[in-house]
């Protein structure tokens, strides 16, 4: 079922059925999207509940001029960033750094298959500035097009390409230190 058909179903008064169709189509995709930012399976699972609750509550005010896909990814991205921000504050209050906490998560995650170099890449991504981290994750790890990323983040394609380039440079430099 396409996004337009789902929204037609919603507008026809079958809200619950339409929502279940959204869950069927997007739960797995949004899971991987959020997981790439949070790394932890448990945190991602918790956050997905909140994301879909916001989707359900926000559907009545969703304007069909924008794409459902974009709208859902935007909610998921914002929620993931908010979650990381809260985690950063909590870490700061305990005199720790978020990137150190994320490194421990990556090392101890039983649901991550990757060799030493791949784990090092993930850790290095956590140290990137937020915008570069977003662009690199969506472009490299999720294979999203620049056009889609541009729509979700509300940034021009040119700016995204520049951010991606800087991100790769920093990652090369970071990985070069260790290997």
């Amino acid at each position: 079922m396409t996004d337009n058909e789902i929204m037609d179903l919603y507008k026809a008064g079958q809200q619950e059925r339409a929502f279940k169709k959204i869950v069927d189509s997007y739960s797995e995709r949004l899971y991987w999207h959020v997981r790439h930012f949070l790394c932890s399976h448990e945190d991602t699972d918790d956050l997905l509940q909140e994301i879909f609750l916001k989707v359900w509550n926000g559907l009545p005010s969703f304007r069909t001029e924008s794409r459902l896909y974009t709208w859902l990814y935007r909610i998921a991205t914002n929620e993931a960033l908010n979650f990381l921000q809260k985690k950063k504050v909590r870490a700061a209050l305990q005199f720790e750094s978020l990137s150190r906490e994320m490194e421990v998560l990556i090392d101890d995650d039983p649901w991550l298959n990757g060799d030493e170099l791949q784990r090092a890449l993930l850790k290095a991504v956590q140290k990137l500035p937020k915008k570069q981290q977003l662009v690199f994750t969506m472009r490299w790890l999720e294979d999203m097009s620049y056009e889609d990323i541009s729509e979700i983040l509300g940034t021009s394609v040119g700016a995204l390409k520049a951010s991606y380039h800087f991100a790769v440079e920093k990652l090369k430099s970071e990985l070069g230190k260790n290997f």
Partner: protein
Amino acid sequence: MKTEKNILENIGKASFTVPEGYFDDLRDRLGSIATPKVTAPGFFFRAKPYLALAACFVAILIAGTTILRNTVANDPTDLTFSEASYAQMAPFAIPEDYYQEIGYDLPTEELSDEDIIEYLIESGTQVELLAYAGNQ
């Protein structure tokens, strides 16, 4: 010289995994979020318990007042008591006015010795007491 793309491709992507059957369970859990929207309760609905409580108080008050009014009004001892209390509260009242108010007819002429003697006899006053009073 390796290009940026080649470096990343050489590293490859770490793959995250999930427990078996996780996405089926996730879909079920997320699907259950959709519940019919309940409209916010109106003022009357919210005030209903308080109104019921107030109605109970009023009912108890009315019932209590009615019961007390009926029982007190029919009991002559209570009536006497309330009248006596009234007399105590107004010690400066003129006795004649008070007795007339409560329905007693006071003799208009002065009491004669005969009246007094008759009263003492009828009330059973002992002779010894009369003699004692006479000696005072």
